[in-house]
């Protein structure tokens, strides 16, 4: 005991979490007896797969969740962190994965939100702008106090989020997967800022599952797997492979070996596609490309450059406004989703919790959504539960879904297993075309690997055409046969051959720094 007390007195340690156990009200054990120690002025990597409990642990620290067991020592004293306001008062701040900014307010207004300066009873805007400028200068993170959040890029917004927390005078800064939404260039910029903050004595918790980045920027790491700590180390002492092993529990090789594509006839053909949203913004401005059978075409781009509109139009979720989309030569104009699906199109929507799966229904009911009306699953409008259960069991086995059985509710599954259920449905109907939007976003390594392999399998076994949207550039390069880059509603580049293509090469086109000539881009049209 004395030994431990001594360590607590050690000025180096700013925060200790001891034996933290958190069980959610659905019975999921997110954290199991976790110990974490943060030192002053370090960047501490909290590493683990999606669902390993990183975010939960930080929510406990930030007062969002209360743990069932365990205690928190802050500067040697035990504290009960009851809510985020309390955490901020103590000097603990968190930047969430999804930004908590109000789009229609200015940077300065967002900065002071929750602690607004007032003159009498009126909001003191001048003071807010002053504070913003002051903080920005102090931490060398330049922002324009008057700019509206909705006009800013993702990297810029993140800077505002970080400043907002710094303004509250925090000592510990928690960043939840800060690079998930950034391009490689923006990530580099963020790292410069973080190292700067570290030098000023801030403690930073960097949550991530991107090991390259962790290795690059962190001083020490804590690795979580399935809610437990599987390793703690100084970064110099471990290689990326070691971290990966601690994280996944086995050696992993995320490279999937695949043969070169043997493309055949054109399946999906998009010509001069345009789309204007309800605010009058042109999200798609003359997009033309082809995807051939036996080919995986990747689509890269910073979020909001027209990818969502493109996939939603092809799937029939939003109506075709201008241009032409054909599948096997047949137009999809004026066709509903059911008609498009009847043309053997499979779809994975980027938002799986809303469009991909139905939480309160069973795996069975989720898997059958696109085929319940066909024999043998139903006859004359009456369901054949036996056939449905049989098929579901088969798919659960084939896609290695971890569950209590075909009648388990989808809400009881982990994110990776939910996506496996979605994949099981969409991949098992021998599609001519698969439109897959962010199929592995936010899921664990095992499920990611399985889904990537199944996509390649579709290309090889079923000769399907695949249009793959992803924010994970390594995934795009690894899985796709060729890639188009979207920028500002247009195709900015087409890489027919991916030899020598790296994330930073794509990044330049994604940010609009570079653009290929029209002739080069037009090569994506085959007939």
């Amino acid at each position: 005991m004395t030994n431990e007390e001594n360590r607590n007195l050690n000025n180096d340690v700013i925060l200790k979490m001891e034996n933290i156990t958190k069980i959610y009200s659905n019975g999921f054990i997110a954290n199991k007896g976790i110990n974490l120690e943060l030192r002053r002025g370090e960047i501490h990597g909290l590493v683990g797969e999606n669902g390993a409990g990183k975010t939960t642990l930080m929510k406990v620290l930030f007062g969002h969740e209360s743990p069932e067991e365990g205690r928190i020592l802050y500067e040697g004293k035990e504290v009960q962190i009851t809510d985020p306001t309390h955490a901020l008062e103590l000097g603990i701040g968190m930047v969430h994965q999804h930004f908590m900014l109000v789009d229609d307010l200015s940077v300065a207004e967002n900065m002071v939100l929750g602690a607004e300066p007032v003159k009498g009873i009126v909001f003191d805007k001048k003071k807010a702008i002053e504070l913003t400028k002051e903080t920005a200068a102090k931490f060398n993170l330049p922002v324009d106090p008057n700019a509206l959040i909705k006009d800013l890029s993702v990297g810029y917004r993140q800077r505002v989020e970080i400043l907002k927390v710094l303004l509250r005078g925090v000592k510990i800064l928690i960043l939840d997967e800060p690079t998930a939404v950034l391009t490689p260039q923006e990530t580099e910029e963020l790292f410069v800022q973080l190292i700067n903050l570290k030098k000023q004595g801030f403690t930073i918790v960097f949550i991530s599952h991107k090991l390259q980045e962790v290795k690059q920027i962190c001083d020490r790491i804590t690795v979580l797997r399935l809610g437990e700590v599987t390793g703690q180390a100084n970064i110099e002492d471990v290689e990326i492979e070691d971290i990966s092993r601690m994280m996944v529990g086995r050696d992993v090789d995320l490279e999937i070996g695949k043969d070169p594509a043997k493309p055949g006839k054109t399946v999906l053909s998009v010509r001069n596609l345009e789309h204007v949203d309800k605010y009058g913004v042109k999200n798609l401005n003359g997009v033309s490309f082809d995807v051939r059978e036996g080919e995986i075409l990747g689509v890269a781009g910073v979020e909001g450059n027209g990818q969502s509109e493109l996939s939603d139009t092809i799937c029939g979720l939003i109506s075709l406004q201008k241009g032409e989309v054909t599948i096997d030569g047949k137009s999809i104009a004026n066709k509903g989703i059911d008609k498009i699906r009847a043309m053997d199109v499979s779809m994975m929507h980027e938002d799986r919790t809303i469009y991909g799966a139905s939480r309160n229904q069973s795996i069975e009911e989720n898997v059958m959504a696109d085929r319940y009306f066909n024999e043998p699953y139903s006859r004359r409008g009456i369901l054949n539960h036996k056939e449905i259960t049989e098929k579901t069991k088969e798919l659960i086995k084939d896609f290695v879904v971890k569950c209590d059985g075909p009648d388990a509710l989808v809400k009881t599954l982990s994110g990776g297993n939910v996506q496996k259920v979605v994949a099981a449905r969409e991949f098992s109907s021998t599609p001519r075309l698969l439109v897959a939007s962010h199929p592995t976003r936010g899921i664990d390594v095992g499920a990611t690997d399985l889904i990537r392999r199944k996509i390649v399998n579709l290309r090889d076994k079923e000769n399907s055409a695949v249009l793959l949207f992803s924010a994970d550039l390594n995934e795009l390069i690894n899985v796709s046969d060729s890639i188009i880059v979207m920028y500002d509603g247009q195709i900015a580049a087409y890489f027919r051959d991916l030899k020598g293509v790296t994330p930073s090469v794509l990044g330049e086109y994604m940010l609009g720094v570079k653009r290929m000539s029209d002739e080069e881009i037009a090569q994506v049209i085959y007939n």
């Binding site: 979720l317 469009y355 229904q361």
Partner: protein, 374 residues
Amino acid sequence: MKKKEKYISTTQIEKRFSLIRTALAIVISLLFCFLLIFISSKQPFQDIVTFMIAPLTSPSRFCLMLLKMSPLLFTSVAVCILFSANTANLAVETAFYAAALSSSVISVIEGFAPAPLHFIAAAIAGCLGSIIVLLIPAVLELKFNANIVVSSLMLNYIINLLGNYLICGPLKEPGFSKEATKLIQESAKLPIIANVSGQKLHLGIIIGIICCVVGWFIIYKTNFGYEARTVGQNPNFAKFSGINVGKVIVIGSLIAAIFCGIGATSEINGYYRRMEWEGSIGYGWDGIMIAILANNNPLFCIPGAAFLAYIRTSADILNMTSNIPIEIANVVQQVVIIMIAAKGLLSKPEKKAIIANAKKQAELKEKELAENNG
């Protein structure tokens, strides 16, 4: 082989607690009711006993209960169909009334058709009435995005006033002392299956139970039921899977309307001599309450309707034997609704049970792992 330890999933715990919650809601509302009786009665103990067992004390009282139960079966199964597709179409209340009106038009025609056919024709006419009423809010929502709750509530007023006009005007038998239609023809009447000292139990209760079974089959065993439940659980998912959400809502309204139509015709042609409702009488609202109690499962509507009919009969008898007014039944009904709506009821012990279970599961798994390794 793994040792078979007792395995409970979180879903099972949740189901168990949902059952306990319903039971608790009923118990609490009854206790509240006892309290009221205690305060207001001159002979509280006797009255509480009467309230608890009255319908079982004589065959005719039991018959009365079954008679009260019959219409509730139809409206509750109709609500189940609508609610499982998450269509909050509250016009069920007046759809039942409209069906009673339109069926009576046929029922009063002398020599319209022989015995079973006359009733069937009347029921079809009844269905037409309820179909029109239930489809209006559904179509308004689909075509013009008009909130179905608001439009169906408003429609209830319109149909009530329209019905009142019809009963007092065009449908009224001239010269008859009451606002009511002509006599319902014998050929259109439902057969009486039991006549217990003046309480004539008609076939309606049997038809109602059949409707509940059919409703259950539709919801859980047919393609349409699957579509409806999927639309009800997650309309975006349903749409993205290729289910035509609009079609499901329209068909759901049609099926619900048919149950209302059959139910209203059975009620009028089984129990009454003339159609004499000057306005809707709340069977739709009762149906909503029962469907909520039954968690949208038509089979559970049978005990649900029985419960409501039971306390109503009790209240009736209490009204005759003591100074307790008949409204006591409404008190029970409202308290049950409040308790059922209180989703937070028992949430703490529920969470505790789930967490304890999760811990146990984790320990079991560890033990298993250790055994496998050892």
